[in-house]
C-alpha cells in the first residue's frame, strides 16, 4: 500500500499520468462530439485522428506523412519551450505567438527580398523574436507592465507589421508569399539527407533534430547551471532572489529575450522548411504560439516532456485532416483537435486531484 502511494507521489510519474488522463479525456470528448454530429462515422473518424499517418496504406506514404508531422512538430516545440522557459521564471509568455510572427516575417523577408542564405535568415528570425521578447521584458522590468497584456498587444502589432512587410514579396495573384524554392532555394534549411529517409519528403530538414537538441539544452540550462538556478529561484520567490543579490530586472529581460529567441527560431524552422507560405491577408495570429501553451502544460512543464507533447498535438491535428470529409463538415478536424488541445490544459488540474486523493501526503505546508 505504502509502496504504491510513493509511486503515485513521484513527480515524473504524476506528470505522465496526468498527461495521459488528459489525452484520454480529450479523445473521449472529441468522440462524443463526433457522435453527436454523425454517429455513423464517429468511430472511423476518431480512429483516423489517432492514427494520423498510419491511415496511409503504403509504407513510404506513411513515412512521408510522419515526416510532415515532424516538420510541424519542431516549430510547436520551440514555442512550447519558449513558454516553458519563461514559466519557470514566473512569467507567462503569451507573447510567444507574436515573437513567432516576428520571426516568421523577418526570415521570410530576408529569404525572399534579400535572397540571403538560410543561416542568415535564421539569425534574423532570432533577432526579431528576441527583440519582441525584450520589449515585453523591458516593459515588465522597468514600467511594471504585466507581460500578458503587453504580450497580447504585441501579438497584434506583430501580425499587422508582418502582413505589411510581406506584402512586398507576395504572389501577384494570391495572398501568399512567394515560394522560397523558386525564388531563393538557398534560403531553405538543409536536409542533410534526412528527407530521403522520409520517402523523399523535401520538407524534412535539420530543424527537427535541432529542436530536440534545443529542448535538451533548455532543460540543462534550467536545471544544471548557475543561470538556471537564478532564474528558477526568481520564479519561485522573487523576494528571496532579491535578498540573495540576484538582479531581478536583468533576469526578467533576459528570460523574455530568450523566450523570444526560441519562438522566433521556431518560426524560421517552419517557414524555412518551405512547407507553407505566409498569407498576408490573415487576420488572426497563427495558432502555433498558443498551442505551445497547451504543449507546455501537457508536457508537464518539463522541456523533455514537451518534445513528446508537441509531437502528440501535431499528430492529432494532422490526424484530423484524415477524417472522411464526405461524412463530416470540413471544419471538423480543427474542431476536434482544438477540443483535445484545450483539454490538455487541464493537466495541472488532474495533478492537483491526484495530490489530494493521495491522503494528504503530498500536502505542502506554508
Amino acid at each position: 500500500m505504502n509502496e504504491k502511494k510513493s509511486i503515485l507521489k513521484n513527480e515524473g510519474f504524476q506528470a505522465i499520468l496526468a498527461a495521459l488522463i488528459c489525452i484520454v479525456v480529450g479523445l473521449l470528448v472529441g468522440f462524443i462530439v463526433l457522435l453527436i454530429i454523425n454517429p455513423a462515422g464517429a468511430w472511423d473518424a476518431i480512429v483516423a485522428i489517432m492514427q494520423n499517418f498510419m491511415t496511409r496504406s503504403s509504407g513510404p506514404a506513411r513515412l512521408k506523412n510522419l515526416g510532415n508531422t515532424l516538420v510541424k512538430t519542431s516549430p510547436l516545440l520551440m514555442c512550447a519551450l519558449s513558454i516553458n522557459f519563461c514559466y519557470k521564471v514566473g512569467l507567462f509568455n503569451i507573447g510567444a505567438a507574436g515573437q513567432y510572427v516576428a520571426g516568421a516575417g523577418m526570415c521570410l523577408y530576408a529569404g525572399l527580398a534579400w535572397k540571403l542564405p538560410w543561416f542568415m535568415c535564421v539569425i534574423l528570425a532570432i533577432v526579431a523574436g528576441g527583440l519582441f521578447g525584450t520589449i515585453v521584458g523591458f516593459l515588465k522590468a522597468y514600467c511594471n507592465v504585466n507581460e500578458v497584456i503587453s504580450g497580447i498587444m504585441l501579438n497584434w502589432i506583430g501580425l499587422y507589421l508582418v502582413n505589411m512587410l510581406l506584402s512586398g514579396v507576395k504572389e501577384p495573384s494570391s495572398p501568399y508569399t512567394l515560394k522560397l524554392s523558386s525564388v531563393n532555394p538557398g534560403g531553405i534549411l538543409p536536409s542533410l539527407g534526412m528527407g530521403a529517409f522520409f520517402a523523399k519528403n523535401k520538407y524534412v530538414t535539420i530543424a527537427i533534430p535541432l529542436s530536440v537538441i534545443i529542448a535538451v539544452v533548455v532543460w540543462v540550462v534550467l536545471n544544471k547551471t548557475k543561470f538556471g538556478y537564478e532564474l528558477r529561484a526568481t520564479g519561485f520567490n522573487k523576494e528571496a532572489a532579491k535578498y540573495a543579490g540576484m538582479n531581478e530586472k536583468k533576469n526578467i529581460i533576459l528570460t523574455l529575450m530568450i523566450g523570444g529567441i526560441l519562438a522566433g527560431l521556431g518560426a524560421s524552422f517552419f517557414y524555412l522548411s518551405a512547407i507553407e507560405e505566409w498569407s498576408v491577408t490573415q487576420s488572426s495570429v497563427p495558432a502555433m504560439g498558443f498551442n505551445g501553451i497547451a504543449a507546455t502544460f501537457l508536457g508537464g512543464l518539463n522541456p523533455i516532456g514537451t518534445i513528446f507533447s508537441s509531437f502528440f498535438i501535431q499528430h492529432i491535428t494532422l490526424g484530423g485532416s484524415e477524417i472522411d470529409m464526405s461524412v463530416y463538415p470540413s471544419q471538423i478536424s480543427d474542431l476536434i483537435s482544438a477540443i483535445i488541445i484545450y483539454l490538455c490544459g487541464f493537466v495541472l488540474f488532474f495533478k492537483l486531484v491526484m495530490n489530494k486523493s493521495g491522503s494528504g501526503k503530498g500536502g505542502h505546508k506554508k
Binding site: 537564478e230 528558477r232 540573495a244 540576484m246
Partner: protein, 510 residues
Amino acid sequence: MSEYAIEMLHITKRFPGIIANDDVTIQLRKGEIHALLGENGAGKSTLMSVLFGLYQAEEGVIKKDGKEVKITDPNVANDLGIGMVHQHFKLVQCFSVLDNIILGVETTKNGFLQKDEARKKVMALSDKYGLSVDPDALIEDITVGMQQRTEILKMLYRDNEVLIFDEPTAVLTPQEIDELMIIMKSLAAEGKSILFISHKLNEIMTVADRCSVLRRGKYIGTVDIKGTTQEELSRMMVGRDVQLVAEKAEAQPGEVILEVNNMTVASKAHHNNAVKNVSFKVRAGEIVCIAGIDGNGQTELVYGLTGLEPLASGSIKLCGKEISKDTIRQRSDKMSHIPEDRHKHGLVLDYSLEYNMVLQRYWQPEFVSGLGFLKRGPIRQYAERLIEEFDVRSGQGPITIARSMSGGNQQKAIIARELDKDPKLLVAVQPTRGLDVGAIENIHSQIIAHRDKGNAVLLVSLELEEVMNVSDRILVMYEGEIVGEVDPKKTTTEELGLYMAGAKREKVTA
C-alpha cells in the same frame, strides 16, 4: 459524556525519511489550555495538522467528545468545531480582514454577499475578547499581530470549541503576547478547549493547565503545570539540562566596522519616513542590539543597511568603505543578513535544503564551474557539513524540499548559511524566532563566538530577554529614531520599556 473534548490515540504519521509522530497520544480536557512542547521538528505542527485534517495519520484514532471521528479535511474539522491558527498564517493578502474572516462561510442572499450581518458578528466578537482589528484594512497592510487577531476571529466566527494555536507568540511583540494570554484564558474560562504550542517556557507556565512533551516524534509524557518547573520541562523536552542564559565574556570592542550617518529610509506603507536621520556605529568584537516595539522602523533600518530598500539620504560605511550605493550582492561580501521573515526573504521554499544552503554563495568558484554549471558534489558536501554543524533536522537531509521542513529547522538552516559566510558584520533580525530552548542556547553561543572572532554583530530583536542576555550595547528605536543608548548590565527592563514607549529619550551620538 466524556471528560475529554479531543483524544488523539496512538497517532503515527510518516513522511519520506522520517516518522513525524510515532504512537503519540494526547488528551485534551474540556475547558483546559493544554500546551504542546518539543524541540524543532519534534512533530508538534504535524500532530496538529492531523487533528485539523490537513494530514491523515497512518495509524491511530481521534475521538471528539468520546466518539471516534474521521477528519479527512479541514472542512470536516470545522464542522466538528475544531479551528486552527497556523504557524505561518493562511490569509489572503489582497483581501480585507472581514473578507478573510468570512471566507468559506459567507452568508448570501440571491447570490449576493450579506456582509452587514457578518460585520456585526465580527465586531461583537472583537469587542468581547478585546481582539481589535480594522475590518476593512487589507491583510498586506496590517501588522502580524493584527493578522493573528484576524486568524483568531476567524476561528471564533465559526463557533469553534476546540482551538489550536501553533506557535502564536513567535511573531508577536511582548505586549501582544500578554494580550493573547489574557484572551486565551478568557476563552478557556468560557469552556473552549485550547491546544497551545510554544517554545517559550514562561508562557506555558503562565497560561497552560497541563503540558504534553514530544521528542523526535515520540510521546514523552504529560505533566500538570502546577507541579512542575521550567527546568523540568526543558529536561523532558531535550533529554538533558539546558542553560537558559548564554555565557559570555566581556566585550573587547575594536575598530569601527559599521558606521551609519544620518540615514533616512522611506516607508513603503505610509507616506513618511520610517527611519529618520539615524546615526550609529558598530565596532568589531561587540554585539549591538536595536531594541524597540515592532513597527518603529527597525525593519526599514535593516532594509536600508542590506540594500533591500534604497536610502532617501545618508551614508553607510562598512569597514571604512562607503556602501550606500552598492548592490545587495556587493554588500553581501562582508555582510550577512538573517532576515526577519524566513518565508519571504530567507528561503526559496520550493528549492531543496542544499540549494537553499548555497543561496548566498552559489556563484562562487567553489560551487560553479567556469562554464556556468553548478557543481553538485561540492554543494552536497557543503550542505551536509552545515546540516551537521547546526543540527538542521529534516526528513531527507540535503534533498529535503525546504517547504516540508519544520519552522524551527528552516530558521536554523538560514542561520547556518549566514554565519558560515563568516561576515565582518552580521545583521541578525529576530534570529531565534521559532527556535526551541536548546537551539536558542546554541545560536546565542554561536553569535557570541562570532563576535569573539573580532566581528561586529547588529542584532534586532523584539524580545527583551534576548536583548538583555546577548547584547553588549543597546540602542532603542522609537518612531524611526534612536532615542537612547543603554548598557544592558546597568539598565533594567523597566528603563528599557520607558525608552521603547517613547516616554524617555536622550541625544545619542554613538
